[in-house]
């Protein structure tokens, strides 16, 4: 993730991401409507979204749900302190489990936070998620590493990343998209 991705997208892409950050309009021709706001043709809107999806800049395109509203109240972030050279192999063992929704490595923040490998598990019942975490630790041999489980409590805010605030690309400052 250290390679800058900014080179793969331009100002028009960012304006487009900004225009849809609160969602595609619910009308018959949504890409055309988005395009009108941006003085872009429907074809250009679709082509840019397709290209960003193919390039992996858009990881997924579709319905983004509020999982808590669907009963997914048990949301655990499990963190491990894994020796740097073992992170890749341990991560592969973790993501082999279907119930793991996210897995990533982050910088440590010594001395207050020594953990570097994170995974998220979303479930309906806390007891089920706790059992899944135990399974994970045993089956992947992870119980030898220091770890912590942080269930979520209150959700104060959840939106997608914002692109309509002024964004710099390759050193230039661009206008707000909407």
């Amino acid at each position: 993730m250290k390679t800058p991705l900014n080179l793969q997208i331009d100002q028009r892409d960012i304006r487009l991401l900004g225009a849809i950050e609160d969602g595609l309009p619910l009308c018959e021709s949504p890409y055309s409507r988005v395009g009108k706001q941006l003085q872009m043709s429907e074809e250009e809107v679709i082509a840019r979204l397709s290209r960003m999806q193919t390039a992996g800049i858009i990881r997924r395109f579709g319905l983004v749900l509020q999982h808590r509203q669907l009963g997914f109240h048990a949301n655990a972030m499990v963190v491990w302190d894994i020796p740097d050279e073992e992170v890749d192999s341990v991560a592969q063992k973790i993501i082999a489990h279907d119930f793991v929704t996210l897995c990533y490595c982050r910088a440590r923040h010594a001395p207050v936070w020594k953990f570097n490998l994170y995974c998220m598990i979303h479930g309906r019942k806390r007891a089920v998620v706790e059992a899944q975490i135990n399974d994970l630790k045993k089956s992947a041999g992870l119980d030898i590493y220091p770890s912590k489980t942080l269930f979520s409590r209150r959700r104060f805010k959840q939106t997608g990343a914002r692109f309509s605030i002024p964004v710099k690309v390759n050193g230039g400052l661009y206008e707000q998209a909407s």
Partner: protein
Amino acid sequence: MELSAIEKKLVNGWQQGFPLSPRPYAQIADELGILESDVIASLASLKQRGILSRVGAVVRPNTAGASSLVAMSVLPEHLENVAQVVSVQPQVNHNYERENSLNLWFVVTASSEIELEQVLSRIEQKTGYDTIKLPLEKAFHINLGFAI
């Protein structure tokens, strides 16, 4: 919250691979054997009930600048106010309380590393608490939606 049969199909079928074609809702309607207007009405209802956040893109981190997970350790009696200061920053997207002495966790997505630091300084100045930046180094897996 209960979902209708159509809503379940929409939710399970289109969390990824949403049609990038001029009439996407009509395309979905064809696949489900229902009307385009029913697809649009169902999505509007899901949104109105708070189940659907949006139909849109989930973008890879650091696409347009810099982002980081950030943690804070806040006294319980201050947490609500500190969380409010954090949430009003437009660069903050997720903001959750978690069970740990580091009890406030949020994601900042800014246009640059400098702006990211400015957001964190502003939060520190307004709240009197330190922020701990935990930037992403490597993503191994991201889910492509929930089975409902």
